[in-house]
């Protein structure tokens, strides 16, 4: 469908302990480039981040309004690990493309469940070919949750369609006990659904269908 620009932050982490550190604090198994979710002790989302394992750095791409919360969450937990963090948000623009497109070498491209994530230097912008409405339509069609809509601090990852980012066999992380209990008991409370319009309390409205997070026992 095209390319949309995301309201995203770009944090650059350096040091040999970066991936281990992120792995110990988030829901997915982080050993290289992937997407993961930072949760609090109530298993509520702090932010979903795309982790890019670059050459000598690890980039965390997340939702700009949640940047301060994520920085606070991770920086207080750095004790004696070899980790430094810098904020490259103002130097780069972040885009999402619904298909694989050719980009200059200076653009970092990474495949995610939402589409191709593109991180471009600010002075080399990528053409935006999709409106916000088109992006919403794409997300509704493919049931893709997005920060600020479905992915919010009010929900846990299982409720907003991020169950595939919650690794079942990795070690402990903050919020893990709650998510593991929900899964093992088959009780996740709410779940992301796509329903034909009109949809009460829709989180994303499409032309014919909408996304909503509803109680699991309401919709099978």
């Amino acid at each position: 469908m095209g390319v949309v620009q995301l309201d995203a932050y770009v944090l650059i982490m350096r040091g040999k302990d970066c991936l281990t550190f992120i792995d110990g604090l988030s829901t997915n198994k982080v050993t290289s480039t992937c997407t993961t979710v930072f949760t609090n002790s109530a298993a509520k989302i702090i932010d979903m981040v795309d982790v890019i394992d670059g050459d000598g750095y690890v980039a965390l791409i997340g939702h700009n309004p949640y940047k301060n919360d994520i920085v606070q969450h991770i920086s207080t937990r750095i004790l004696n690990q070899d980790i430094s963090i810098s904020d490259a948000s103002s130097n780069n623009s972040v885009y999402l493309s619904t298909s694989d497109i050719d980009v200059p070498d200076s653009v970092t491209k990474c495949s995610t469940f939402r589409g191709m994530l593109l991180v471009a230097p600010k002075n080399q912008p990528i053409d935006i070919t999709m409106t916000e409405a088109d992006f919403s339509e794409y997300r509704v069609e493919n049931m893709i949750p997005h920060q600020g809509f479905e992915i919010t601090p009010k929900h846990h990852p299982l409720a907003c369609g991020l169950g595939h980012l919650v690794h079942e066999a990795k070690g402990c992380y903050i919020g893990q006990e709650i998510l593991a209990r929900m899964r093992s008991r088959g009780r996740q409370g709410r779940k992301l659904v796509k329903l034909p319009n009109p949809v009460k309390d829709a989180t994303t409205i499409g032309s014919t269908h909408s996304l909503a997070i509803v109680r699991s026992d309401v919709v099978k």
């Binding site: 770009v10 944090l11 650059i12 550190f21 792995d23 110990g24 604090l25 002790s41 890019i52 670059g54 050459d55 000598g56 750095y57 980039a59 920085v71 920086s75 207080t76 937990r77 750095i78 004790l79 004696n80 690990q81 980790i83 430094s84 963090i85 810098s86 904020d87 490259a88 948000s89 103002s90 130097n91 780069n92 200076s106 653009v107 970092t108 991180v119 471009a120 230097p121 600010k122 080399q124 070690g171 402990c172 992380y173 903050i174 919020g175 893990q176 006990e177």
Partner: protein
Amino acid sequence: MDCNTCDTAPTIVINKPEVVEVTLTITQKAKEMLENAFGDDRSHGLLVGVLSGGCSGYMYDLQIVESTEQDCQELDIDGFKVLVPKASSHLLDGIEIDYVDRMMGGGFKINNPNAASSCGCGESFS
């Protein structure tokens, strides 16, 4: 991503908590177990540290070490050399190292007055 610009991106200051002079205690049962572990050789030390991660955000790290690259405070507790990394001293001041003798879930336990909560297994705290 242009990593030339990344290199010049503003660094996020990680506020390192103040290093505190740690005091800690070891219960009689834990001392007995440490004596079994160390034997007569007291050249090694007990490293009592904290790692990031775990169900509650921080995890205890107990090791018997000959030396460590971490910058540590060295304490002498009843003849045992105890090493506490300065970076996690604020989380460990006032702790009691205990030993719980149980078939399941037994072993060294740390009672920490700084912990607001801890997970079921006792290895992780916040």
